[in-house]
Structure formats: C-alpha cells, structure tokens
C-alpha cells in the first residue's frame, strides 16, 4: 500500500470538491434560470470535458500549463511554483475536468425549483444571498450532494489527465490510480489488488452515503 499516494488522492479529491462546488453553483444557477445569448454554447462547453478523451485534455493542459505559456509563467511569477508536474497544476486540471460532474446535477436541481418559490422568498424580504442560502440550496440539496460525491469519486479515479499533467512523482503527483498502474507494471499484484479494493470501497461508501443523504431529504418534504 502506497500511503503517500492515498493521502495525495484524498487531498486532491477533497480540495477539488470544496473549490469546485461554489464555482459550480455560480455556473449552474444562470444556466438553470437566466435566458441569455450563447447559453447553448456555455452548456456545450460545460459538457465538453466529459466527451474529450482524458489524454487529449491532458495533452492540451500540459501545453497551456508549461513554463513558457502565459498561464504557467504567470503562476510561476506569482507563487514561485510551476504548474506542470506539481500539486497546483494537478488541482487546476482536476477542477477543469470535473466541471460537468459538478455543474450538471446542480443545474438539474436548480431547474426543478419552481420560480414562485424564489419569488415568494423575495416578497418575504429575503435578499438574493439569503434566498440562495435559505431556499435555493436546501431545495437543491440532492443535486448538491450528487455533485459533491461525483466530483470526489471521479477525482480519485482520474488517470489520464493526472498522468499527463502531473507526471508520476512520488509524494507530489502520484495519485492512487497511478500507483495501482505502477504496481501492476512492477508485477506487485498484491499491492495493486489492495489499492484497487480500497478505491472500490470508497466508491461504494460514496454512493451509499449519497443514497442516505437524499433519502433523508425525501423525508423532510
């Protein structure tokens, strides 16, 4: 068992989930309610990471994260760290490829909130922020839980993009999925099996907790 890889994977998955959810809420709300030009285009862009092969995404990200790219150079100047082959780059890539997993369940959830519920809150004097906190998020809770679980589990399992952008640096960018690949390459099937089983257990626990959380919501109604 590569405990460094496990900790890194969990750290990456947690950071991605916590950073991505607020961002996804900001993207999903206008997609659910507002009518604007180019909405179809934004919808398509949000879905794109789901459709492109991970290695292709990884290849382009590697190019745009490099120290000679504007983004890579800017990050280096700002933080003194490179984006490629680092946790920073891994996190940024992870945020981008998880956008559809976080945005789509939230968008569906916000779409299912009747417009009158928000209008009633406004007429009761709730500010837009209070309406978000006290009306929209509680009603969108199943979508929020789905988004969190999908993002977390998908980040744990991501392989192609992580390998392209992060490389395979022990303790810095070697996640559990990559460690499994490494162990198989090294004919250490016992370790690979152990880590694979762990990922299966985490996925099952995540799906189970999602079921539990949303069932609780059903009772509240």
């Amino acid at each position: 068992m590569d405990s460094g890889a496990l900790i890194l994977s969990l750290k990456l998955a947690l950071a991605t989930t916590l950073l991505l959810l607020p961002l996804a809420i900001c993207i999903a709300r206008p997609l659910a309610w507002a009518r604007f030009r180019g909405k179809g285009l934004v919808d398509a862009l949000v879905t794109l990471p789901l459709l492109l092969p991970p290695t292709v995404i990884g290849f382009y990200l590697l190019g745009s994260f490099g120290p000679h790219s504007a983004l890579g150079a800017g990050w280096l100047a700002l933080t003194g760290r490179t984006l490629v082959f680092s946790f920073d780059g891994l996190l940024l890539a992870s945020l981008l490829i998880n956008i559809p997993f976080a945005v789509q369940p939230l968008q569906r959830a916000f779409e299912s909130i009747p417009g009158e519920a928000r209008e009633a809150a406004w007429c009761c004097g709730l500010s837009p922020l209070q309406t978000l906190w006290r009306v929209e998020l509680p009603l969108a809770w199943p979508g929020l839980a789905s988004a969190a679980v999908l993002t977390f589990v998908h980040t744990l399992g991501e392989f192609g993009v992580v390998l392209m952008v992060g490389g395979n640096l022990d303790g810095a960018t070697r996640t559990l999925s990559i460690a499994i690949y490494d162990k198989v390459q090294a004919f250490d099937e016992a370790a690979a099996a152990q880590m694979s089983l762990l990922l299966v257990a985490i996925a099952v626990a995540a799906v189970g907790s999602l079921h539990f959380l949303t069932r609780k919501v059903g009772r509240r109604g």
């Binding site: 209008e119 007429c123 009761c124």
Partner: protein, 376 residues
Amino acid sequence: MAERADRADRADGLRVLLQQQAPIPLACQFDCAPGELVALVGPSGSGKTTVLRCIAGLVHAQKGHIRCGEASWFDAAARHVRPPQQRRVGFVFQHYALLPHLSALENVALGLGELPPVARLERAAEWLARVHLAGLEQRKPAALSGGQQQRVALARALARATASNNSGVLLLDEPFAAVDQVTRGKLRTELARLRHELDIPMVLVTHDLDEARQLADRMVVLHRGSSLQEGTPEQLLTQPRNPAVARLMGLTNLFSGVVAGNAATPQLHWNGRRLSIVDFCGFAPGDAVSWVIPPEGVLLHRPDRPSQGDAENPVTGTLRETLRLGSFTQVTLEIFGEPQPLTFAVSTRAIERNGLAPGSIASATLLAQRIHLMPA
C-alpha cells in the same frame, strides 16, 4: 364608508399607473386605500396577474409609477425601481409557493425578518392561529391539505404586509383557484370576515365575478391589459360603461335600440317596441345606443294574479329553457319578434306554482329604472 373616504384623502394607500406596449400591453390605472379591497377582474390573459407582479416588483412595466403611502416603489420616468425585498408586499400566489423544506410556522416567520428570532416565531404562531391553523405549526406543507396550505400562504402574506406598522400591501393572485369548491366557499367567507380587520390596501386578482362581488369594495375590469372601468361591484353590474364591460361582467341581456321621446317621457325604441326609461343617460333622442338590463331588472308576470306593475314595459314570449340552480331557476325567454332571448332568474317555487316549462308562453316586465343605456 365615510371613514374610508377620509383615509383615501391622506397620502397613503396604493396608487398604480402602468403602461407598456410589449411583451404584454398594459394601460392600467387604479388606487387602493388602506382597508380597501380592490378586485382586478377580467378573462384569462387580460393581464391581471402581470399587474399584480408589477406591484410586487417581480416584473417591471415600461412606463408608469407605483406608490405606496409616502414611498415610491416604481417610477419609470425617474428610472427608480425598488426590488421586491424593499416593497413590503404580502403575496398570496395562485399555487401558494410555500417552501416545502420549512414548517408552516417557519414559512410564516420567513416574512418577519426584521423581528428578533423569538418574536418572529411568536408572531408567526399568532397569525397561524388567526387563520385557524393553531396546532399545525410544525407540519410541513406536504402534510397539509390544499385549504390548509392556502391558509398558511395567507398567514405568511399578512405577517409580511402588516409587520411594520401596516405599511404594506396584500396581493392575492387567484387565491382560491386551486382548492375544491366547498373549501373555496369557506375560505372566501373567512377572508371576507378577516379583511375588515385589516388596515392595508388589498388587491385581489380573480376571474370569478361572484368572488369579486363578495370580497371587493371596488372592481377594476381589465381587458387585454387595459382597465376599462372602475367602480363598486353594484355600479359595474348595473351601469357598465360600454358593451365590452357589460359582456365581461357576464351581463347577457344586451340589446341595441334608439333613444326616443322627450325629457318628460324618455323612451327607447327596441325593434318596434317602445320601452319607457327613467332618463336619457346623457344621450339625445335619435341616438342609437346599446342597452342592458341586469337579470334582477326582469320580473316574471303571474298569469293567475296580474298586478299593477305588469303594465311597465311588458314583453311576451316563449320559455326556451329553465335551468334549475337550487332555490332559483335561470329562465331564458324568447320574446316574440326578437332574435335575442332574455335571461333572468325566477324563484324555483314560482316556476313550479305557475307550471312553467320550456314551451310555455310567459310575460315579463322590464323595470324602467334598471334599463341602462350605453354607446352603441
């Protein structure tokens, strides 16, 4: 009534003027004094709900203004728009819009944000008790019947509208449309009682004329976004300004004629008949007019016992239809020589006593003082 007129003189109450061409044409103006209930009536698609949503600040008209008391809520010319949060509107939505994740008590307390948390719940419980829901405070909306949900929605709107020294407005959008008929009658009676205890302007949107008549002090008739006429239910039902209003008010005895006679004996020529009328209503002899008579203005003659009043504007014809509506029966009389029938209500007992049935010959009086003239 005098008390109410005094209040209207003060600079309080709700004043609404809305105009726009698109997306929904609007040309609507009315006032509503504190303690007064104004009903906006009209067919579906006449813009009633849009007017209400403009008052709440959920949509904005292109031109016009909305003032509540001293405060300006909307002024298109000054580009001034207050958001719904700053308008103190108690809005009863057609489908109630209760928040499903909050209890009845929390739903009502939602509109009492300015109060400290404990006072908020106390006041919410008081309002629930006033709409006869004491004991159901902790229920979620899904565990309440349609009528109970409607009461929670009303309590929430009233709590919000009255929270700050009665400075708010109560808006009701078809509030009884989604409940069964028995519950509807009960809720209506409750609101009719409750509204007299309230000192805020109330605006009711409905397509149900009976509802408007029971609840409203004044009615505004809307058609395609335009206010056609404003007045008490009695005025609108007996003196509609024009045939369009008469039709929207459900008046079916609508005919055309020509003014005749002189100031001493004003008359109306109607397809060869001469009807006596009370006055010219501003028309001159020779003018072609439309005229209307409400069902209450038509009296069926008793063939067994003619009375003196029968001499007033008598008409005779064949009964075409008798529609029994409980203690009253709606009668359709096909007058000889007149293509359009007359409809009116007669007590069911009178129908039975006189043995009247479709096909019978019957006579009726058109009361001169109930005949109302309008532009053709």
